[in-house]
């Protein structure tokens, strides 16, 4: 009986020491997941078809990105960081996350009517940049503008979808430092958004 109790005690102690909260969390500090599971909308061959919003709409959307810049759905390539609004796009003269401040965001903040949502696409940031990001979010929220700061890779589709919903949305985007781990080439990745429809 003594040995049994000893084993039981040991097991309880071990389970307590390895409690989930005490374990280091996976991806701690990385706030964004790149892969989302949308469930299965696909019904079968011939029953479903996809509608690509980039091709359907007559307004501006971003189709792809590279280390050089962005390509719109009308085939125009934009060099460098961009400030994109519904149906108009401007060149944005910033280098990276640390260049984004109240002055460089002046147009987004001063615009009338107020923006429904502002998206900031940032190429790459380290763990130590989290304070900067938080400060930036707080700064923009002072102007009562909802803000979404995310990696560029997912900021584009977000802008496209929000724009497809006819919201007054703006996005400031800086091209990524590397696409698929390659820093020098300008490899294009598709940013087309759409939805799947049943027949």
């Amino acid at each position: 009986m003594g040995t049994l109790r000893y084993c039981f005690n040991a097991a309880v102690a071990l389970s307590k020491s390895c409690h989930r909260s005490s374990l280091p969390r996976k991806n701690f500090g990385q706030r964004f997941n790149f892969v989302r599971n949308y469930g299965s909308t696909y019904e079968g061959d011939g029953k479903t078809h996809a509608v690509l919003l980039n091709d359907e709409t007559d307004s501006l959307m971003i189709s792809s990105y590279s280390t050089v810049g962005f390509t719109l759905n009308n085939g125009i390539t934009l060099v460098g960081p961009i400030a994109i609004f519904p149906n108009c796009v401007l060149s944005w003269n910033v280098g990276d996350l640390h260049h984004i401040n109240e002055e460089s965001l002046s147009l987004f903040l001063k615009i009338e009517p107020k923006l429904d949502i502002l998206i900031l696409g940032i190429p790459e940031y380290k763990k130590r940049d989290r304070k900067v990001l938080l400060g930036l979010a707080n700064l923009i929220r002072e102007y009562k503008i909802p803000v979404e700061i995310m990696p560029v890779e997912i900021a584009g589709p977000t802008f496209n979808f929000l724009h497809a919903e006819r919201r007054f949305v703006a996005a400031g985007m800086i091209p990524p430092i590397d696409v698929d781990g390659d820093s020098a080439t300008a490899m294009e990745s598709p940013w087309k958004v759409g939805y799947v429809e049943g027949k």
């Binding site: 039981f8 005690n9 309880v12 307004s59 280390t67 050089v68 810049g69 125009i76 390539t77 934009l78 060099v79 460098g80 960081p81 400030a83 609004f85 519904p86 149906n87 108009c88 796009v89 401007l90 060149s91 944005w92 003269n93 910033v94 280098g95 990276d96 260049h99 002055e103 460089s104 002046s106 147009l107 001063k110 615009i111 009338e112 009517p113 724009h163 006819r166 007054f168 800086i174 091209p175 430092i177 390659d182 820093s183 020098a184 080439t185 300008a186």
Partner: protein, 249 residues
Amino acid sequence: MGNAAGALGRFVTKKARRFNVESRTERYLEKNVKNPAPKPAATQREIEQLQREMPDLMQKINKRNEELLTRLKKVYVSSEDPPLDKIEADANPNRPLPLQRKTEYLEYGYVEPESVTPGRLTLKQALQLLSKYQLDKEKDSIKSLALQYNLSEKDVGNLVDYFKVYTLVENTVQQSGYDVNPYTILNDPNDKIPINLMNLPEETKKFQAAVQKFSDAATERSLGTSENNSKNSSQDKNSSQDKNSSKNN
């Protein structure tokens, strides 16, 4: 310890309760017994009293009453819509109902406000301001633009400094074949080069020279970071040089 023992006990009793539960349920369902819930004592007493007073009551209740059934067949309900003219008269002529549900196309994605708060500007105005400044910096200076659009000079300075209207260049990007981040150029605080390639070919030459200058710097930087990157970048550098040389020829 107590917790663990409790859990163990619960586990055991649960298993015992659910032992052979499926076959037991099947057996119960096969019997097809219906045990209606007993009526309350007061109701029971009342029913017994009624049966004592009128022994043929239950018979009367269970018998179909043909007279009552035929009555409903004779009933017929008809309705008429109110006249349409009356509805039109009720509608408010000052606030007419919408005839189309489709929303109208908005040029810049927003409804143009009637008045703009001083110190702010609409998107349309911003585009005007930026293009005006880029076309003629002396005529439309920051000072005059600030007066024109009811903004502070500091704000106009920021707008003009950080936002620029694009100019269309056909195919130059593909032809030049550079592979370097253009924003590394914008990064440099000493010489900010506006990507305004309106005045071809002088501007493109200037731009390409700047790209060449910074591509060297970028490759050096990536050489320093890691070995794998350095291999890639050196290869890319070679390829870019090949491209450039072929173009020069």
